[in-house]
Amino acid sequence: MIYILRRVAFYLAAFFVAVTLNFFIPRIMPGDPSARIIASFQGRLNDAQVEAIRASYGTTGSLWEQYIGYVGQVLRMDFGISTVQFPEPTSSLLFYGATWTLVLVGIAITLAFLIGTMMGIHAAWNRGGFFDSVFTPINVMLNAFTPAVVALLLFYAFSLQLQWFPLGRAHSTGLVPSWDPQFIGNVLYHATLPVLSILIVSFGGWHLGMRNVMINLLNEDFVILARAKGLSDRRIRYRYVARNAILPQITSLALSVGFLLGGALVTEQVFNYPGLGKFTVTAIESRDYSFIQAQLLLLTMSALVANLLSDIANVILDPRLRKG
């Protein structure tokens, strides 16, 4: 319990660092931030929009007062008014996009973790064999392929040429979001290619990670003892080796969430998928700073929550962390 509390304290501190960065980065740029932002629109804003920007980059009061005000806004989840989709509040756009990104990244990360980890177990167990010699390098190389290319190729081949999959969107127009199987099936159909492109560039990391940790564990006395005991291969592999090797994998899984959420950007752009990444790209093009900043905070929060979940999982799986 103390362990978890310590971790929570750390995540709060880390979140605070992100909020502070978010506050100071625009302000260390030369000039008045709101004036700069307003200027970049070259008079395409109406008065209400100008006011909204002024409010969210409140240049009234001392820096300290501004900072306190900003922190207050963040804690209320008030990220101001979107300058692009005026007068939508930024937070509602943000959460709409986040939902779809969560669908995409959630499915992709789960599949990548499971597939990569199972392949890693297999490769480590039969190391030096055919599977290990051929697929370990290939899978890891896929990991170093840029998501942009993989997504473009999948889009070109299966959406444009073969037309097996739709050209964009999260679900067919005209369908009302609900939990009925038809709608869920439609969502999965639309998510297939985006998920696949994230999957292709990410499962190799889990494969290599699991393989290397497993191979190192094979040298541990407790694994040698398990062998000496004449236990079945299956039992040694899962209960003695993989059971221990999974612990660092879970920590890496949490650390990769932030990275993958960022990576979804490119995929959503290619597949025209209405997630956070797609909105962020639009926000970048139209210099909607309140959205850009809010997405950083939201993604930071998601990454921290993922890390907290992994800590809890580790406490459940590792009795050594449970005492105290």
Binding site: M141, L218, G262, I284, I292, T300
Partner: protein, 345 residues
């Protein structure tokens, strides 16, 4: 406890019965021949051991050769081109041919010229950011691991913050505030967000090294701290530094491509990432101009693959257990030939 009254020991002849003689092992030289192990090439004997291990590692050397090829292409490629990468050089979307080896873009720019100049930028950003991140990681990791105490607490906190904060979204915030994020800005930001992993690895390694006898001995002899770090610790961290450099470079090249691809980069700069950006914007695949998209795509993938190969080699050097698995097949066959089950583990 020892019982003194017992039978006389066996004689040598009792021992070496026929079965025992028949099962005798081959000599070391014969064994090396059977397992196809070659002696260390003579020219590597002057190299430091970890470098010698690297240059005899087939995976690592393949990666190095491919990477050197790419670098050479980026450096010398422009020499063979009469075009300017940013200027119109011909008609739009000319297929590869004599005039344009890799065709032209929708804007009529020469793809070969762009690829070579873009390679300079992309590789410079990638290696620059990777190197800077690995250096920061090295400095932070060694300081935290060696000095311990307060310094370690503060640095470890920083490392953990850098690790949990999502890098790409942070880069987007910074890059979007700068009017046009050129390759230099992107490189600096990537370096500042990418040093978490190498710092963590090197801190752990330094901590385990810190308690070793030769470090303690140097301290007892009154050696200055910075000298111990430089002379005793740094050389042992080289391979971990190399690992950080390689992984950091992969991450930076991919991130640069991703950022440019979504239009955050300076779209006037020529990098492999912006080439992809324009290819996507120009619907190159849709109109069948595959030559606009394949060259930068393949270049990025080749770079990634080469770096992955190098990383495999670095892994095998820092972790000999990984390398041992390469010989497993030959050992299996050795045992099978002698009628022995091969439960090699």
């Amino acid at each position: 406890m020892a019982d003194i009254t017992h039978t006389p020991p066996l004689t040598l002849l009792d021992r070496l019965d026929e079965a025992a003689i028949a099962s005798a092992a081959p000599s070391q030289a014969e064994l090396m021949r059977e397992l196809r192990i070659k002696g260390r090439p003579g020219w590597t004997s002057k190299l430091p051991p970890s470098l010698a291990a690297f240059v005899t590692n087939p995976k690592g050397m393949t990666g190095v050769i491919v990477l050197l090829g790419l670098i050479l292409f980026a450096l010398l490629g422009p020499v063979f081109s009469e075009y300017n990468p940013q200027r119109r050089a011909g008609k739009p979307h000319v297929a590869p041919g004599y005039e344009h080896v890799m065709g032209t873009t929708r804007m009529g720019k020469d793809v070969y010229t762009q690829l070579a100049y873009g390679g300079r930028m992309s590789l410079a950003v990638g290696f620059g950011a990777g190197l800077a991140a690995a250096l920061i990681g090295l400095a932070v990791g060694i300081s935290a691991g060696y000095f311990g105490g307060r310094i370690d607490d503060v640095l470890t906190f920083l490392v953990n913050v850098v690790l949990v904060l999502p890098g790409l979204p942070l880069i987007i915030v910074i890059a979007s505030l700068v009017d046009s994020a050129g390759p230099l800005v992107i490189g600096i930001v990537l370096a500042l967000t990418g040093w978490g992993w190498p710092a963590r690895t090197i801190r752990t390694q330094t901590m385990s090294l810190r308690t070793r006898e030769f470090i303690l001995a140097a301290e007892l002899m009154g050696e200055k701290k910075w000298r111990i770090i430089l002379k005793e610790i740094f050389p042992n961290m080289l391979s971990f530094f190399m690992g950080g450099l390689v992984l950091g470079t992969i991450a930076a090249i991919l991130a640069e491509a991703a950022l440019s691809f979504i239009g955050l980069g300076d779209s006037n700069a020529v990098t492999w990432g912006t080439m992809l950006y324009w290819a996507q914007n120009n619907m190159a695949l849709q109109v069948g101009a595959w030559w606009e998209i394949w060259p930068p795509a393949i270049a990025i993938m080749l770079t990634g693959a080469a770096l992955v190969m190098i990383n495999f080699a670095v892994d095998e050097i820092t972790n000999p257990q990984l390398k041992a698995s390469r010989k497993i097949g030959r050992i299996r066959r050795f045992l099978a030939r002698r009628g022995r089950s091969a439960d090699v583990f």
